[in-house]
Amino acid sequence: MSSDLSDLYQEVVLEHSKRPRNYRVVEGHNREAAGHNPLCGDQLLLTLKVEGDVIRDVGFQGQGCAISKASASLMTGAVKDKTRAEAEALFEQVHKLVTEGPEGVDMDALGKLAVLSGVSEFPARVKCASLAWHTLRAALEGRGEAVSTE
């Protein structure tokens, strides 16, 4: 496998795409948003339980490619018990990582999300990696309409 392919489809990415974490509708959720990538048909539904300013629980369901599923799965783990501001700051780092690459990104702060570093070599797949995050932002802002990557 060429090195950029193995960077994209890292073990952790494949593992999360096959066995996504928090693949559920959160019981008693008080925030939700749907995300849609009309170009490829990826769809996901994000449900959250937010207390005050803190994301207490988050789950997703939907269909998509390995990158979008893994990204959603990793995100649900990363933002749990984070404040809105912390989640937003994480998104900024993830966005920079998947569009520009690891340079200038605080990789330690990203933790497991760092496995998305290979995406930046595949511009056509940036939307797959960021769909869940755009949907999270919409859910937190309480926007009712579905989020589209277009």
Binding site: Y9, C40, A124
Partner: protein, 407 residues
């Protein structure tokens, strides 16, 4: 195969002579858009270098040459599809515009509340949305001929769907997502028996086999230049003269009028009535060059090549473990839609791309087809006259690589 030398054909297409990602380019996405032979590229360059001027207007030498080239292209198209009269050939931007033109002229004039527009379940969005829009504008109802698990139209359902309220049947000749060749001649016969006109979307057909609009008997036939090795931005609406004559204009502007005063406009004759504004002159010239290229190869030879390669590719793909071909019509064009285990087509496409192999992944602008087969997307390899068994072999090797990544 006598006379058809695929290696020589490949030599006519400069874009194929390149490496991508350190590997020879394998282009298997011609159903999205086909590559252009040097003859087409040269014809466009020559037009701009020597003959460019506006048509039907000037008295000068260049305008005469440009008009001759443009009207000559119309005659070339007429010959290619065996229309009776060059006036039956209207230049448009592509298949999409051709269908919109019919929906908004024939449709607006003849279709009212409670009337029915009949399409099929295997249409491209270009042959769904214009009719959906028309139905919303007029209060007409959209009806659909169903598809079966092979990807063939359920012909038993057709007669009951052709009712006294049906005002038009719009059907694709070849499904872009499944490769199904629809029995458009038989459908036309049945529709005409009830006095219903027929539009055929030929975008995926004209590139693969000979099309004779008089033999098919249809009233309208739409296709694009860019899928048949010509340039983008040019396409054709064929319409039988007696169907076109009574239609109102599509767009208003220059060249579609005979006279204009502030009180009254007299519209031009067919086909100019439907060609408002300066048309894509170089596009028409390029399309004519593409047709001459196909005629020199012979459409029968092209069809034989495509069918032979389709059979080879079908067998080759079936040898890949976990691969399922979507669309198994008995009469099929050189399109292979497939699923590989439960691996998402976008992941398949990305990994193949790294091997220098271009395929299409997604819903192929045919979401109702995806809904019928209950998949969000498929991978699609489409074959054309410049593709070889080596291209197919490279695809199979690439798919094994995909399996390796996801093992």
């Amino acid at each position: 195969m006598s006379g058809f030398d695929v290696q020589r054909v490949r030599g006519d297409f400069p874009i194929l002579r390149q490496e991508v990602r350190g590997r020879p380019l394998v282009y298997l996405d011609s159903a999205a858009t086909a590559q252009k032979p040097q003859a087409v590229i040269d014809a466009i360059v020559r037009f701009y270098q020597h003959d460019n001027a506006n048509v039907h207007r000037g008295v000068h030498v260049l305008s005469e040459r440009a008009t001759e080239a443009y009207e000559g292209a119309r005659e070339t198209v007429r010959r290619f599809i065996n229309a009776r009269d060059a006036r039956e050939v209207i230049f448009v931007r592509g298949t999409t515009e051709a269908i919109n033109l019919v929906a908004q002229t024939y449709g607006r004039k003849n279709i009212g509340p409670g009337d029915e527009v009949l399409i099929t379940h295997i249409e491209h969005h270009a042959n769904i949305v214009p009719w959906r829009m028309l139905c919303e504008q007029t209060g007409a109802v959209l009806k659909v001929i169903p598809v079966d698990e092979r990807g063939e139209l359920v012909m038993d359902a057709v007669d009951a769907l052709l009712t006294e309220r049906t005002r038009i049947l719009a059907v694709t000749h070849v499904s872009n997502a499944l490769g199904t060749v629809a029995p458009v001649k038989e459908l036309t016969r049945r529709a005409h028996a009830k006095g219903i006109p027929v539009l055929v979307d030929g975008a995926q057909a004209v590139t693969h086999f000979p099309v004779d609009v008089q033999d098919l008997g249809c009233d309208f036939y739409a296709f694009s230049g860019h899928k048949m090795f010509g340039p983008t931005g040019i396409g054709v609406l064929y319409g039988r003269l007696e169907r076109l004559e009574p239609l109102p204009p599509y767009q208003g502007g220059g060249d579609m009028i005979l006279s204009v005063t502030m009180e009254k406009v007299t519209y031009n004759r067919v086909p100019h009535r439907f060609e408002a504004g300066t048309p894509d002159l170089a596009g028409a010239v390029g399309l004519a060059a593409a047709i001459r290229y196909l005629e020199a190869l012979g459409m029968d030879a092209v069809a034989a090549h495509d069918q032979e390669l389709l059979a080879y590719a079908t067998q080759a793909l079936e040898s890949v473990p976990g691969l399922r071909i979507v669309g198994r019509a008995r009469e099929k064009s050189a399109v292979l839609s497939f699923l590989l285990e439960d691996i998402h087509p976008h992941d398949v496409g990305t990994i193949l791309d790294r091997e220098g192999i271009c395929i299409r992944t997604g819903h192929h602008c045919a979401q109702p087809v995806m809904q019928y087969f209950q998949v969000p997307a498929t991978s699609r390899a489409s074959l054309a006259l410049y593709n070889t068994r080596e291209d197919v072999d490279a695809l199979v090797r690439g798919l094994h690589k995909v399996l390796e990544v996801f093992k």
